[in-house]
Amino acid sequence: MSDIASKVTKIIVEKLGVEESEVTTEASFTNDLGADSLDTVELIMEFEKEFNVSIPDDQAENIQTVGQAVSYLEDNTK
């Protein structure tokens, strides 16, 4: 797992209280990992803090799965 992917997994496990094994690439935050709308906002904020990026709302709307989060962060961080 890439460094980014493992950090993302760690944040998801901590915030959503799920097992690491549930955090698969296709897993949807709301449909599979039990997040509600406030949880997803919080996740985006944690990603912003951890990776020192700003994720505008219109981009955040497209980050709905673990894989999408990892891709976005790989594309937008050095």
Partner: protein, 417 residues
């Protein structure tokens, strides 16, 4: 229309002197002080460095981590106390009409720690807001009653009452009246507070309201003592289940006592100081007696507001003397704040549970730390000094008075079957 009778069918307690009802009573009976050196934050720069905190309490032992994360401490305290009371009431959740069970809770401040932490974060990030989405839902004082209703599926009336230190008594009175009117069959009521924070200790210190007896903190909460120097801040919560009498009888519920009356008034005097002649206190107690269809001679024990402040303690006794006349020297009086400290919006909750347990055990919990009674207080008043007293207790009156002049009084009566 005829008002329905209301009884108490469940209790819960999460207090600085016991994390459940039985251990709470043990401590009350034995005159235990709940004061300790503050652990919740680094208080070395503060004038007061002690409080009555909960001991050995881990919220996630009782609340799933994912749920606890979205609750301020005051809500966690409330949820745990309410869980105890609901379990104690033993409702058959498949039969009882949950649409007619409400949650009316009391808290004076609400999510203070949540507010404080988020603002400190804001200051630390250069005032650029990166505010957590859960900040508002955790902070607002109503979150306690919402969370309690969610846990049990209770869909009756739901809100939190705020009247500073009288908050819980107002919540209980609202719950009482809605059941009397037939709007609910039962209600989870009570109160909680978690204000042992930088803002809480610092703020009350700035008001000169807190004791600064750091070198002898176990004796700092000493209502009616000549050398009292302020109150001791307490945290925690307690809960009672109020239920319509026929509903309770029909399901074979355990009945602790009856709630006979509730009285309210305002001092209309000052933002923190009580009326110098105890006028608001007088009116509140008089209102409660009228509501209960009782006279002063019916009262056996008065659980006072008695916070250990210079101004407040004698005024309440004056009001009692003015209202009760000669009977003031026959009732037992005590302030359990000498043991629990002052739980602010949660005070009425722990004191209601103490009053109900006093009836159950026919024993008056003491006013501890009474070394020299203030000479302003008539020596004929029985303050139940230092040691619990066994006596006949049929009726208890419990007072709570809040900053801003909010007064609320409850009267609990023994149930004889």
């Amino acid at each position: 229309m005829e008002l329905k009778r209301v009884v108490v069918t469940g209790l819960g307690a999460l207090t600085p002197i016991g994390n459940d009802v039985d251990s709470f009573w043990e401590s009350l009976k034995n005159g235990v002080s709940g004061a300790n050196l503050i652990t919740r934050f680094d208080c070395s720069a503060y004038k007061t460095r002690f409080a009555c905190e909960l001991k050995n309490f881990e919220p996630t032992d009782f609340i799933a981590r994912q749920d606890a994360r979205k609750m301020d401490l005051f809500t966690q305290f409330g949820v745990v106390a309410a869980d105890q009371a609901v379990a104690d009431a033993g409702f058959d959740m498949d039969k009882v009409n949950k649409n007619k069970i409400g949650v009316i809770w009391g808290s004076g401040i609400g999510g203070l720690k949540t507010f404080e932490e988020e603002m400190l974060n804001l200051a630390a990030t250069d005032m650029i807001p990166k505010i957590n989405p859960f900040f508002i839902p955790k902070m607002i004082a109503d979150s306690a009653s919402g969370q309690i209703s969610m846990r049990h599926g209770f869909r009756g009336p739901n809100f939190v009452t705020v009247s500073a230190c009288a908050s819980t008594n107002n919540a209980v009175i609202d719950a009482f009246n809605y059941i009397r009117l037939g709007r609910m069959v039962a209600c989870v009521t009570g109160g909680s507070e978690a204000a042992v924070t930088r803002a809480g200790i610092g703020g009350f210190n700035a008001l000169r309201a807190l004791s600064t007896r750091n070198d002898d903190y176990k004796t700092a909460s000493r209502p009616y003592d000549a050398d009292r120097d302020g109150f001791v801040l307490g945290e925690g919560g307690a809960s009672l289940i109020l239920e319509e009498y026929e509903h309770a009888k029909a399901r074979g519920a355990k009945i602790y006592c009856e709630l006979a009356g509730g009285g309210m008034s305002s001092d209309a005097y000052h933002i923190t100081a009580p009326h110098p002649d105890g006028l608001g206190a007088f009116l509140s107690m008089e209102d409660a007696l009228r509501d209960a269809n009782m006279v002063p001679e019916d009262i056996d024990y008065i659980n006072t507001h008695g916070t250990s402040t210079g101004l407040g303690d004698p005024q309440e006794i004056t009001a009692i003397e003015n209202l009760f006349k000669d009977h003031a020297y026959k009732v037992s009086v005590s302030s359990t704040k000498s043991m629990t400290g002052h739980l602010l919006g949660g005070a009425g909750a722990v004191e209601s549970v103490a009053a109900i347990l006093a009836i159950k055990h026919q024993m008056v919990p003491p006013t501890i730390n009474l070394f020299n009674v203030d000479e302003k207080i008539d020596a004929r008043i029985d303050l139940t000094p230092n040691v619990a007293k066994a006596r006949k207790i049929d009726v208890v009156l419990s007072n709570c008075f809040g900053f801003g002049g909010h007064n609320a009084t409850l009267i609990f009566k023994k149930y004889n079957g």
